[in-house]
Symmetry: C2
Subunit: 448 residues, 2 copies
């Protein structure tokens, strides 16, 4: 144990000039993320800890850290803001955490495009981008705290996805620069389809040091709450709005009762028993919105223009923030992530599960179509029951991206991405980057 400590001390010594954290409470904090949304991951990951946290300020320091990790064969796990939900940045095999939050420079910002360091926070970025009329295309509901690098490495969708689809759609990431975990770390750049190697890669395929991201025109986004008597009217309204090509939108989030009752701060606008839509719509299209809402017998209870929004954005009640609010009222609630593909399937699940699985839909574009994705809330009892619920969905044609597992493959992707695995063999032949997260990779494969 003492030797061990000494070894770490030796490593720390070699990193002189780079910020290092060794205090155990801090290390504990920086070793974990929002994995606790899942009672299953909670049990599996709660005791995982890094040995050391480093906070480089630039790419040169990253290279130095990578070299040292390779030399000592020490695992390295990159961390942005640590808001992931699947333990993406929890070090399974201890080692070093590389915290990117000091790498927060915007290199350049032009109409349509920007180059940033990975630790730039999304909301902070948007504030600057909006000054020239642009903003991020897609951002998660953790937008205020999450980093751009962390979103690319561990996220997938968010506000804006109703227009631009998932992060992994061609065009949504222009170029990345990364440092390899090799004997002599190299800096390489990926563009075109190659960028897919790092998207949702959980930091297993290189340490991103720069990103070139396409931007979206910044609209003044009005925020609206619309309530409905029937859940299926709300769901159909969500689909119709998402299919309305003449209405520019950023968020179409639909909640079955009793979910609205969990939104404590919004109770004035959410009469008990009603189902609701939380929306972000271009101010220029509000007249058209009113006609559409009337068609679906919705009632607007809240409508604020961009300039009138003072406090929290409705975004912070949507996407996985819904789960956050629900769990703060009832910690037995957890969630699933589902592609229903059709509203018929949504309705079937709504009827079938009753109170046990309460439906929360986010509409997004997938393959050119607007589809309802579920982040439905599940009243958790046992792991066995949770798996039964997943099985029932899949047996009935829905696709579940299981948020209760920590490998890339067991979650969204389901199958092993051989290109990513091959790429990792070049970038990280010894498997030191976030080990255990890419199940398709094994050091034995090196011999093939």
């Amino acid at each position: 144990m003492t030797t061990h400590l000494n070894a770490w001390q030796a490593i720390a010594d070699k990193l002189k000039g780079i910020e290092i954290i060794t205090e155990s409470n801090q290390i504990a904090k920086l070793s974990l993320d929002y994995y606790h949304f899942s009672p299953i991951l909670y049990e599996q990951l709660k005791d995982k800890r890094a040995d050391l946290v480093v906070r480089p300020s630039n790419e040169a320091e990253v290279i130095k850290i990578a070299q040292l990790c390779y030399c000592h064969q020490v695992p390295l796990t990159v961390r942005g803001a640590g808001t992931g939900n699947y333990g993406q940045c929890i070090p399974l095999e201890a080692g070093i955490i590389l915290d990117t939050t000091k790498m927060n420079q915007i290199h350049w910002l032009k109409p349509g495009m920007a180059a940033v360091e990975p630790g730039v926070k999304m909301a902070a970025f948007d504030k600057q981008a909006r000054e020239i009329g642009w903003e991020l295309r897609i951002a998660p509901s953790t937008y205020r705290t999450a980093t751009i690098g962390g979103f690319i490495g561990g996220g997938s969708v968010g506000m804006g996805s109703i227009t631009y689809g998932q992060l992994k759609e061609r065009g949504n990431l222009q170029r990345v620069r990364l440092v390899t975990m090799t004997e002599t770390p190299e800096v390489i750049e990926l563009s075109g389809d190659e960028v897919q190697q790092v998207i949702h890669g959980y930091g297993t395929t290189g340490i991103i040091t720069q990103l070139e991201i396409p931007l979206a025109p910044a609209y003044p986004w009005a925020e609206m709450i619309v309530i409905f008597d029937q859940f299926m009217s709300a769901a159909k309204f969500g689909q119709a709005l998402s299919d309305s090509d003449g209405i520019v939108k950023k968020l179409v989030s639909i909640h079955a009762a009793p979910i609205p009752s969990y939104f404590t701060a919004l109770q004035n606008y959410l009469p008990s028993g009603k189902h609701c839509a939380l929306l972000m719509i271009s101010e220029y299209d509000l007249a058209a919105m009113k006609a559409l809402i009337a068609e679906y017998q919705g009632e607007i209870t809240y409508c604020k223009k961009a300039k009138e929004i003072a406090g929290t954005s409705l975004l912070e009640f949507a996407w996985n923030h819904t789960t956050l609010h629900a769990r703060s009222v009832d910690p037995n609630l957890t969630y699933l992530q589902t592609f229903y593909f059709t509203l018929e399937r949504v309705e079937q699940m709504y009827q079938y599960f009753g109170d046990e699985v309460v439906i929360h839909l986010e509409f997004l574009k997938a393959g050119g179509k607007a589809v309802p994705a579920g982040l439905q809330l599940v009243r958790y009892t046992t792991a066995t029951r949770l798996n039964q619920i997943i099985d029932y969905h899949e047996a009935n044609g829905a696709f579940i991206a299981n948020p209760h597992v920590y490998t890339i493959e067991a979650g969204g992707n389901k199958t092993i991405d051989h290109q990513k695995v091959q790429f990792k063999h070049k970038i990280d032949p010894c498997g030191l980057l976030n080990p255990g997260k890419m199940s398709g990779f094994s050091k034995l494969n090196l011999r093939n």
Copy 2:
């Protein structure tokens, strides 16, 4: 005959101060449009003439003209630039042509929205709008000459429809102001869903004097020609690009050989026998484009950034400009307008008709999905054969918006729009506005 002339002289006298055209060659020119794309309409409409053309400068003059027409029970047909293809502004029952081209003021122009007079030319408008970073959402390939009022009254789709859908999509027209053809002409304003009453109304439901239109963010649009060995590769590429939510686009136009051979000015980029795609893509997404083109074995033969485009835009080879170029090489060619809905149906028609119907696709959004619309070129022989071709398409599940008929209903809409008819009864009870174009309306209905 003399009495007749005297009657017109009396009318002209009452319009003192308003520009009036009585010269017969000029009247002939201003009585016709691009109806001659259809050999059938050509025979039906070629002799139609107005008695008088008036060119008001403002709404007050329009009111004066309407009042006089009502008083004398004289038909009035509104005309913008007269580029319609179905004889939209050809006066079936003679009377007065109201030419809007002097009503060309932009009332205001703000980010996201503008208010214009109907005679504003689209390209001229865009030039000003781009100075503040915005542009028209949708515009036809006659963009350089056509008026905004004429597009609303007689057009339907164009560049931009791959993002914003058809003109009639909720949100694509914010508000209109119009003058009624009643004893005491009134000025009324329509907003929300009410604007549908004038969209593609052929000027039968009021004289538009002002339009409030939503704008689109102005991107620097790169223009590209991509060639393909196989037509179906080009078609599938068009669909894949249209479904790529991470690539911002304005034009996806696909042409089977020998159509590219009709584009005389583009021959350097169009090797004989190849099929081609004419594209307008955000410059920011060109890297992603290259990967997509490679996937479909396309070859880029032309790629110009916005600033490098000096001469004609590729737009002027797309939409119905394709037909224009084809007919200038071979005047026996005419065209159809088709919703194929699926690529399987495109392929079936491609195989079935061979040289007789050569496929030209324009992708656009309809109901939230990108669909291939056909403006296929037809080697014209007889009206009977043309109808057989139409019937075959419809029997096999395609929808044809017949461009060889001159009423609203026989063309795109197929069924009588009772709301439009009802609305017309209020706005134009005597049926003086462009009589004969709305077949659902008859003066007899007045008694119901």
